[in-house]
Amino acid sequence: MKKIDPLLALTTAALSLPVFAGNPPTEKEISLRASSYKEDDISKTSVLSGSPERYKIDKTHFRLLTPIGSNWSTEINTSQEVMSGASPWGTFSGSDEQPSLIMSGATIKDKRTEVGVSITNYQDNASYGVTLGTSHEDDYKSRSIGLSAGWDLNNMSTLGIGFSFSDDDIEPTDAKKFGRIQQAKKQTRSFSVSWTQIINANSLLFSGLTYTNKEGFLSDPYKLRDTRPDKKSEWAASLKYRIFIDSKNAALHLNYRLYNDGFGINSHTVNAEWHQNISLRWKISPRIRYYSQSQADFYLDADDFSLPKTVNQSSDHRLSGYGAITAGIQANYELSGWKIKVGFDRYISDNHYGHDSSRYSHPALLDFNLTSLGIEYKF
């Protein structure tokens, strides 16, 4: 006979009582976050021409969450990114067969503005949401809509489904001058299903599956030679485990993601976070992430100009086989409705770190620092 865990049964029943039940937000929440992302310069010996100085992105993000009546809530997100730096135009074989880069000048400057509004309706055991979003850059415009629904089943499990669609316009700068495509379109459709299972009072398991279909211009218009298929399907499966450890007064988060796409890229992502409560006000969370991907079917170590333009090829470092490690830490401080978050992450990547890497380490593989500061207020 299956033995019932009395604490689990009682806690589950107690969580249905109105005081504890997962109701729509009753407080307004406002948050502001600023982050600075800085890629390390590329080693000068790998650059044939152009600037070795890479991207720097300063981002500010604003969020407002507010209940409307007792069954509705709305969330507004806006963000702005200011980017500058140089990006790789092409990859060539150097004298020792090691790939070298042709970079743009360090003159690229762009600004991206993003706005998203979502509305959620809460029923007794279900919630339904709609999100509308738009994003604007000099050379890229995107409009999107997302629909989501969640059902609370027997208080221990939540089933979620989601659909999103985005319609993007690409208008590369200096298109005529450099013979780039002048206008292109891209559409993305994404379907997701997830299952969240409460295991006991201290732990839960989330599993999710997402299918994404992209159609249109999927190449990089700024590269000298970059031809990719105009259709791509992507599958991603993820598992997330959360456990609170009473004896340590800390929570452990473990995540795994498996990804596969029609370009032939397979990737694995594992990350672990430790959220340590130091006192009522302080929390310190160190984190580590490992990422590894195989190269795309049409990836080349160096651009091959002898191939017809219609044949797929790309020497984009993001399509090479490589691995990456991120280590970071975040500190949170809370005081009567206010929360301050400070975080730092260091990311390094190389073909030696990967499980199924390309022959040569791509010289444009990134190392970067990400510093962030956030402030949150509930009222």
Binding site: L7, A13, A14, L17, T26, A201, S279, L280
Partner: protein, 290 residues
């Protein structure tokens, strides 16, 4: 609430604390008004008055409490039964001699949670004279609700004590835990243990506070719905849990069983506990080992 209540809040802003205090007192009165058996216009009274006659409309909160009572009934194999209050007609502070078997059977015919039908909107007690008593759940649930209300109103330090069901709003003003004394089951006014706590809730059930004495023999005020007799349990059980309502059901069920079964139940709950046996031994993870 039919018991001494204590609210202790600490904070820098006097107005904030005062406001939180007022809101909590109002909330406590709301609970009493809604669920007291003694008030003529409470939900409990209107349900009981309709026993054997008609259905009574209930709200979502009452439904959730009934569902909670259902889980307690199942987990305790029927010992925790919110209809067992009618047994008090046989056993109360005025009882001077053992009730007869006929009297007890008469009471027992009006007991049985399994006979009750309820839905999200209605409840029906099928036997005339049957009575619900939320006493074993609502006091603890109210303590949790008051904590939520205090926290929502900005109180960070304090505790709520509703007749021994103690729920933490937060630690003491200097960040140190509260030191909670556990009442000695036989020596009046003495404590048998001290427990430090800064979050969660602590409840104690004991058959000793309100016992019934017949011919020099002490009987617990906790009554076994299956036999119709007072329980022959351990003297007291104390448990710490995240919610007072959960801690309270664990200790109540421990005291409704005999000592051996009660100890096993506490052990199975995997919560920190202190059990005081009939020999006055302190057992459990909260018992001092020195």
């Amino acid at each position: 609430m039919g018991c001494p209540c204590e609210l202790r809040f600490y904070g820098k802003k006097e107005k904030e604390i005062e406001n939180a205090f007022r809101q909590c007192v109002a909330r406590a009165k709301e609970f009493e008004h809604k669920y007291s058996r003694y008030l003529d216009d409470s939900v409990t009274t209107s349900i009981n008055r309709s026993a054997g006659k008609s259905r009574t409309t209930i709200d979502q909160e009452t439904f959730a409490l009934l569902d909670y009572a259902q889980v307690c009934f199942e987990l305790s194999n029927g010992f925790f039964d919110i209809t067992s209050g009618t047994l008090r007609q046989c056993w109360n502070s005025q009882t001077t001699e053992l009730p007869s078997q006929i009297q007890i059977e008469n009471c027992r015919s009006r007991i049985g949670w399994e006979k009750v039908t309820y839905s999200e909107t209605e409840i029906f007690l099928p036997v005339k004279g049957m009575e619900l008593d939320f006493g074993g759940i609502v006091k603890e649930y109210a303590a949790d609700a008051l904590v939520a209300s205090a926290q929502k109103n900005g109180v960070e330090f304090g505790l709520i004590n509703l007749g021994g069901d103690i729920a933490m709003v937060g630690p003491q003003a200097d960040g140190s835990p509260w030191n909670i004394g556990i009442v000695h089951p036989t020596i009046k006014g003495a404590t048998i243990a001290k427990i430090e706590l800064s979050s969660g809730a602590l409840t104690t059930s004991g058959g000793y506070e309100r016992f019934i004495e017949i011919d020099g023999q002490r009987y617990s005020h906790l009554l076994n719905p299956k036999t119709g007799f007072p329980t022959d349990s351990m003297l007291s059980a104390t448990v710490i849990a995240d919610q007072a309502v959960v801690a309270g059901s664990i200790t109540s069920i421990a005291l409704l069983n005999n000592e051996k079964e009660g100890l096993r139940w506490l052990e199975d709950s995997k919560l920190p506990y202190l059990a005081i046996t009939k020999n006055l031994d302190c057992l459990g993870t909260l018992a001092r080992t020195d």
